[in-house]
């Protein structure tokens, strides 16, 4: 208790450290993946995106390196992590040097490396902002909520991992019920001596708000037509971005997820980042003929992280891939940068716990059947992308979004027919939790308002947008997932099914913004 100040300082330092390693990695990766002697000037959007992706990238690196050490059986300790980081960074640097891309590493946008005043101000502002966010998150001015699961799953269990440095059979249901990437984030306090993760989580949530604002900015830039008066467009973009971001930041489900020390905030963030990068990759494919390798490689990192953030992460990431198939991204890219990372993490993890450790808990979320379904799902996606997508059945590609949603709806109907009581109970409590404001506040009402407005609005395009596709898909998929778990949903904020559904807040706000902006400015 007396150590609180030192704990705050250490936590702040760790947040800044994660941002710095993430930024270095992203910067190096950007140089390595860009064409030789890349002289293309980075837009302000690109530079802000890099700065905002740095912290989640640092966290993903920390988690994935830890995860790989743990599943490979190498002792997980600070030394092994440092060695792994050194190898990783040295590898990227070596690639940059041997491919002659050293010239791509430039401090300045200008080819002669002269830093302009504008660049200097930008750089200093970013660093200052990182420090301010880290301090605000860690200094204890924002109240947070902890429950038994926060303590046992994301504090005690990570502490045991940090002490043991390996996975043990006795970890038992912790191995089958806890998102391992989040648990590895929970090891940070035990390696750097500050015991808590609230500042790490809050910083990530601030980061998510920033990324959301950037995503809305990018979206409005594409939707709002150029007007003769350029400031008018900028004004419209700024207004939309501010309102939409404020709406998300004040939405009750978002606030609940942000301040409850559990895996949900991490999951929500990495899911949104992967979604946002997919939108970007899709736009790049349309605008430039193919996706930038930089965007795809970031996606590789974040989807791998996402798949291990919660136990159902692989399934949710799989659904995202199915939705990504509606974009113009090539089959090769979907297989290599989206499906492969999930397959790697899932196969490595399941083989470790079920074959190497022979874990077989009496009660757990993840049993053999669920594992078989998850792996089968990833395998089926890979088969669809490599054998069917865009090749044989043209109708599928043409009406892909409708078919996907129809398939999900049909799946839900089948589940309802198999165990109607369970399904209908889940559906009832899903609705009741929203209406009775069990963590939802007025969010449900507001969504209905937006939908009522949109029904009246005459829109030119009747196509289902990618955002709407994923949002509706997420709801249908979550209801199906709740059916698949043991036991039904119940009324209450803490029910895990309710929490999974609350993670949808950023997607709902994003897709409603998309639809409203499209109507208001493309009418």
């Amino acid at each position: 208790m007396t150590d609180s100040f030192s704990y705050f300082l250490r936590q702040t330092a760790v947040v800044i450290g994660l941002w710095t390693t993430g930024f270095a990695f992203i910067y190096l990766l950007g140089a390595a993946l860009a064409p030789k002697d890349d002289r293309k000037e980075r837009s302000l959007y690109d530079r802000i995106l890099r700065a905002l992706l740095a912290y989640p990238a640092g966290m993903a690196l920390w988690s994935l390196v830890g995860f790989l050490l743990l599943v490979s059986g190498v002792k997980y300790c600070l030394l092994s992590v440092v060695v792994a980081y050194t190898i990783l960074f040295a590898g990227v640097l070596f690639y940059v040097i041997t491919t002659g891309k050293l010239g791509n590493i430039r401090i300045s946008q200008l080819s002669d490396n002269k830093i302009t005043l504008r660049e200097l101000i930008f750089g200093i502002s970013v660093v200052l902002l990182v420090v301010i966010v880290a301090v605000i998150s860690c200094i204890g001015v924002i109240s947070v909520s902890v429950s038994n699961d926060s303590y046992y799953y994301y504090s005690l269990y990570p502490q045991t991992i940090a002490i043991e440095g390996r996975y043990l059979t006795s970890f038992d249901v912790f191995l089958t019920d806890v998102g391992q990437a989040t648990a590895i984030v929970g090891c940070l306090p035990w390696f750097f001596g500050f015991e808590e993760t609230f500042g790490i989580q809050l910083s990530l949530v601030f980061n998510l708000v920033g990324l959301f604002a950037l995503a809305i900015w990018d979206m409005t830039e594409r939707i709002i037509p150029e007007s003769e008066d350029k400031p008018v467009k900028s004004k419209r973009m700024i207004t939309t971005t501010i309102l939409s971001t404020l709406f998300l930041a004040t939405a009750t489900p978002f606030m609940v997820m942000a301040r409850w020390i559990l895996a949900n905030a991490y999951f929500m963030t990495f899911l949104f980042i992967t979604f946002m990068l997919a939108v970007r990759a899709g736009n790049e494919a349309v605008d430039e003929g193919s996706c930038r390798r930089e965007t795809l490689t970031y996606s590789f990192l974040f989807i791998a992280m996402l798949s291990m953030t919660r136990m159902e992460g692989g399934m949710m990431a799989g659904l995202l891939i199915l939705c990504i198939c509606s974009l113009a991204i090539s089959n090769r890219d979907i297989l290599l940068y989206y499906t492969l990372p999930i397959a790697i993490t899932q196969v490595l993890y399941y083989s470790t716990i079920y074959i190497k450790l022979s874990v077989n808990p009496l009660y757990s979320f993840l049993d053999f059947t669920n594992v078989a379904v998850m792996l089968g799902f990833v395998f089926a996606i890979a088969l669809y992308v490599s054998l069917i997508r865009g090749k044989h059945v043209i109708t599928i590609q043409k009406h892909y979004s409708i078919l996907l949603l129809g398939g999900l709806l049909l799946g839900n109907i089948v589940l309802c027919l198999i165990r109607p009581e369970l399904y209908l109970t889940n559906l009832k409590y899903f609705g009741l939790n929203i209406i009775l404001q069990n963590g939802w506040g007025y969010f449900g009402f507001f969504v209905l308002f937006a939908l009522i407005i949109l029904v009246g609005a005459e829109r030119k395009s009747k196509e289902i947008s990618f955002a709407a596709l994923y949002t509706i898909g997420f709801i249908l998929f979550s209801i199906a997932m709740c059916w698949a778990r043991d036991g039904s949903l119940h009324a209450g904020i803490g029910d895990s099914g309710n929490r999974v559904l609350m993670q949808i807040a950023p997607f709902v706000v994003y897709s409603l913004t998309y639809e409203l902006v499209t109507f208001l400015y493309r009418h």
């Binding site: 204890g140 506040g441 308002f449 029904v455």
Partner: protein, 293 residues
């Protein structure tokens, strides 16, 4: 059917569906929420019907106004209700060790871990292996085929070994058999109310991660949790109690004693030697004499 007619029918169906949903939501909601949201629904519905006839400027302004009202209502709701929905703790202290937890008897072992981290804990025996225990028929734990005494004996010892500075063993420390009755009598005779940290049930639920034997402890927990939850004997929940909490916080050495139900009691070594142990000896001598008579 013309496209226009199709559109009207489609819109009508969608309106009916959405308004039906809204009606259900309003019906279930409380009075004030019903009033505010009902009024807003009417306004939004009218706006939606006339939206295409409005000028672009008015349309945009109206949408921004609706969103701004939503943001304000969100903020209002959060300020008023978020703390009630989720118990929030300020992180000015480390949240796990907040006094609030001990007062509310939640996360009992969070305090315990903090208490014991720089102390020597004296317990009766070191950890034994699973095969040192016989299988037993235990009516109390219906259906639980796990060897119960293995867990009762060893869970706390493993916990102390992991989280305290040092664990010492002293065979003179009372065994758990017969301890429950003595503890009741001790509390009555000494008028001592130990500091009650609350149920340690969850702590044992997770103490199995410290088990290096590879015994499926979660299974044992699941059975016992299940039967305890649905049993009427709520007293069988595990408890953590501390005699003279403040002295314990300042002491260097603590004695740990638990009964056959896993109710843990902690005290300073001095308290154990000068107060607890003499009473214990006296109690059992009296019991033995009664048996002999």
């Amino acid at each position: 059917m013309s496209i226009r007619a199709k559109n009207i029918i489609r819109k009508l169906i969608l309106y009916i569906c959405l308004l039906a949903l809204m009606a259900v939501a309003l019906f279930i909601s409380s009075g004030k929420v019903r009033l505010v949201m009902g009024a807003l629904t009417v306004a939004v519905l009218i706006f939606s019907i006339v939206i295409n006839k409005l000028s672009e400027r008015i349309r945009r302004t109206a949408v921004f106004a609706v969103v701004t009202i939503c943001i304000l209502l969100n903020a209002f709701y959060n300020v008023r209700n978020l703390g009630k929905l989720l118990p929030m703790s300020m992180t000015t202290n480390q949240m796990i060790y907040q006094e609030m937890n001990a007062e509310e008897k939640s996360l009992p072992d969070a305090y315990l871990r903090d208490l014991i981290k720089d102390k020597t804990i004296i317990v009766r025996n070191d950890v034994k292996t699973y095969d040192q225990y016989d299988e037993e028929e235990d009516e109390e734990l219906r259906g639980n085929h796990f060897r119960r005494w293995y867990y009762v004996d060893n869970d706390y010892v493993r916990y102390f070994k992991e989280y305290s500075r040092n664990v010492e063993f002293d065979e003179e420390i009372p065994p758990y058999k017969g301890l429950t009755k003595f503890m009741n009598s001790f509390r009555e005779s000494h008028q001592e109310v130990p500091y009650d940290l609350g149920y340690s049930n969850d702590m044992l639920r997770y103490s199995f991660i410290l088990n290096k034997e590879g015994i499926q402890e979660s299974g044992y927990f699941w059975y016992s949790w299940y039967y305890h939850t649905f049993s009427e004997e709520k007293e069988r929940y595990l408890m953590i109690r501390i005699f003279n909490k403040e002295e314990c916080e300042n002491a260097d050495r603590l004695c740990a004693i638990w009964d056959h139900l896993g109710r843990l009691t902690l005290m300073t070594e001095d308290y154990y030697k000068n107060t607890f142990r003499p009473s214990y000896d006296e109690y059992f001598n009296a019991m033995n004499q009664e048996v002999e008579k």
